[in-house]
Assembly symmetry: C2
Homo-oligomer: 212 residues x 2
DNA sequence: TGCAAATTGTTGCAAGTGCAACAAAACAAA
DNA sequence: TTTGTTTTGTTGCACTTGCAACAATTTGCA
C-alpha cells in the first residue's frame, strides 16, 4: 500500500503541511468524527491511529466499508461520505490532518515535495481503484462457492503459495462477499469435504489449481 | 464525467503532449489493441473514438468491464490489464495517445497546463473510485430485487424524478448486477405487477419512495 | 425493404441461498 | 480461573435463483 508521505522527509513534511494549510486534530479512541470531516471538500490524512468508514443500510445493519491506516487518506474528495448513512469513527487514538482539496490543488508554489505529495496521492487513488476492482471481480461471481474461490485466488495472487491467511473473521468475510454467513459456512464445509481446502482458523490451505 | 484536457487550450495541449513525450496512434474500428498498450506502465488517452475493456472468464464468457470514451483514460497504471484475460478493443475508429506513466510523473518542468493535466487525472481517478463504489453498493445487495432497486436509486440519485433511462440493454444490466438474465426479467415482471415500476423499453417509471 | 441476429419475456425444474434457531467453540475481560 | 460475549458450525425449511429451452419482439444491416 502506498504512503502519502513517500519520498518526503520529515523536514519537507512540515513545510508541506504548512504550504497546504493543514489542520491537525487529535481524537480519542472510538469517537464518531463524522461531523469534523463531512462538511466540505476535505482530504483527510491519518497521521497515526486507525479510522473506520461504516455504512448503515436501510435495515440498520452497520458494515465496514473501509479501514484507513496510518499515512492513508479518506474524505469527501473520494467518497460520498456526506451521505448521512456513512459514519466515520476512530478505532484507536488518532491524529488526523485535514486539508481542503481545493486549496491543495490551487497552490501556485510547487516545490519538489509538493510534487511528490501529488504523485503519492495519485498512487493511493490507483490502489483504491485496484482494491475496488478486486472486490467487484469477486462479487460478480454468482454462487457462494465461486465467490469464495475467486477471493482465495486474490489472496494468493502472484504467489505460488497454497496457504493463505484471511485478513478478517469469517463473519466479516461473509459481509465482504455479500452472502449469508451460515450459507457461506455450509459452502466452506462442502469445499473442505471435497478436499479442495483445509481450514485452521484463519489459515487456509488450497488444494486446487489456480485456474479453477 | 471529468475530461483529461479540462482547462487546457488547444495550443497548450500540443505543448503538453510534446512535453510528456506522447505517441499518437490510430486504430480502425473493431481492432484488438491489447498488444499495443499492455507491455508497459502506460497511461492511454482516448483522443477520439471508443474503446472497450473486456474480460473473459474461465468459462469463456466475455463481459464488458468498461467503456472508455473521448478524453477519458485507461492503462496499466490503473487496471491490471496485463492479465491475459483482459482484452482491449476499439468500437469505432479510434485515436489513442499513449504516455509512459513514469515519464509523465518524473517531469522536472511543470508549466501551468501540466498542473491542470495532473489535477484532471486525479479527478478522473476519483470518478472511477465513485463508479466502483456505486457498483459495489449495488452488488452487495443479496436479492435480485434489492439489486434492481438499489441500481434504480443510483440512476435517480439527487434528482426527484421518478423517470429513469437505462444506459444499456437489460441483458447488459443483468451482467452489471451479476445475476441471471431470465431471473432478473422475472423479478422485473414482479415489480411491474406489484405496481412499483412501469417499463417502456429502457425508460422506467418508479412508483416507490427513495427510502425503500 | 426484408432477412438474420440479438434482445426480451416466460416457464418448469433443480439447485442454491437466506433465514432463524441453536449448540459448540473461541475469545476477552474481570 | 470464571463469566459473559462473540464467532463459528450445523440444520430444516421456504423461497429465490440459475439454467435451459422456446416464442415473441426488436434491432441492425445488406
Amino acid at each position: 500500500m502506498n504512503n502519502i508521505f513517500e519520498n518526503i522527509s520529515e523536514k519537507e513534511k512540515i513545510k508541506l503541511l504548512n504550504l497546504l494549510e493543514a489542520h491537525e486534530t487529535f481524537f480519542k479512541k472510538d469517537k464518531d468524527i463524522s461531523v469534523n470531516v463531512k462538511d466540505m471538500d476535505t482530504l483527510c490524512i491519518v497521521e497515526s491511529g486507525l479510522v473506520q468508514i461504516l455504512k448503515t443500510d436501510v435495515n440498520g445493519n452497520r458494515t465496514i466499508i473501509e479501514e484507513i491506516e496510518e499515512n492513508q487518506v479518506f474524505g469527501n474528495s473520494i467518497y460520498n461520505i456526506m451521505d448521512s448513512d456513512y459514519t466515520i469513527i476512530t478505532k484507536e487514538d488518532t491524529e488526523i490532518i485535514v486539508l481542503d482539496y481545493k486549496t491543495v490543488m490551487s497552490k501556485e508554489e510547487r516545490p519538489v515535495y509538493y510534487n511528490h505529495f501529488i504523485k503519492n496521492l495519485l498512487d493511493i487513488y490507483k490502489d483504491k481503484i485496484r482494491q475496488c476492482n478486486d472486490r467487484i471481480t469477486v462479487l460478480t461471481n454468482k454462487s457462494i462457492r465461486d465467490k469464495l474461490l475467486a477471493y482465495f485466488n486474490l489472496l494468493r495472487k502472484g504467489a505460488k503459495t497454497t496457504i493463505i491467511y484471511l485478513p478478517f473473521s469469517f463473519t466479516d468475510l461473509a459481509d465482504y462477499l455479500a452472502v449469508n454467513r451460515s450459507a457461506m459456512s455450509r459452502e466452506l464445509t462442502n469445499l473442505r469435504v471435497e478436499g479442495l481446502i483445509e481450514i485452521q482458523g484463519r489459515k487456509i490451505k488450497l488444494y486446487y489449481d489456480k485456474e479453477r
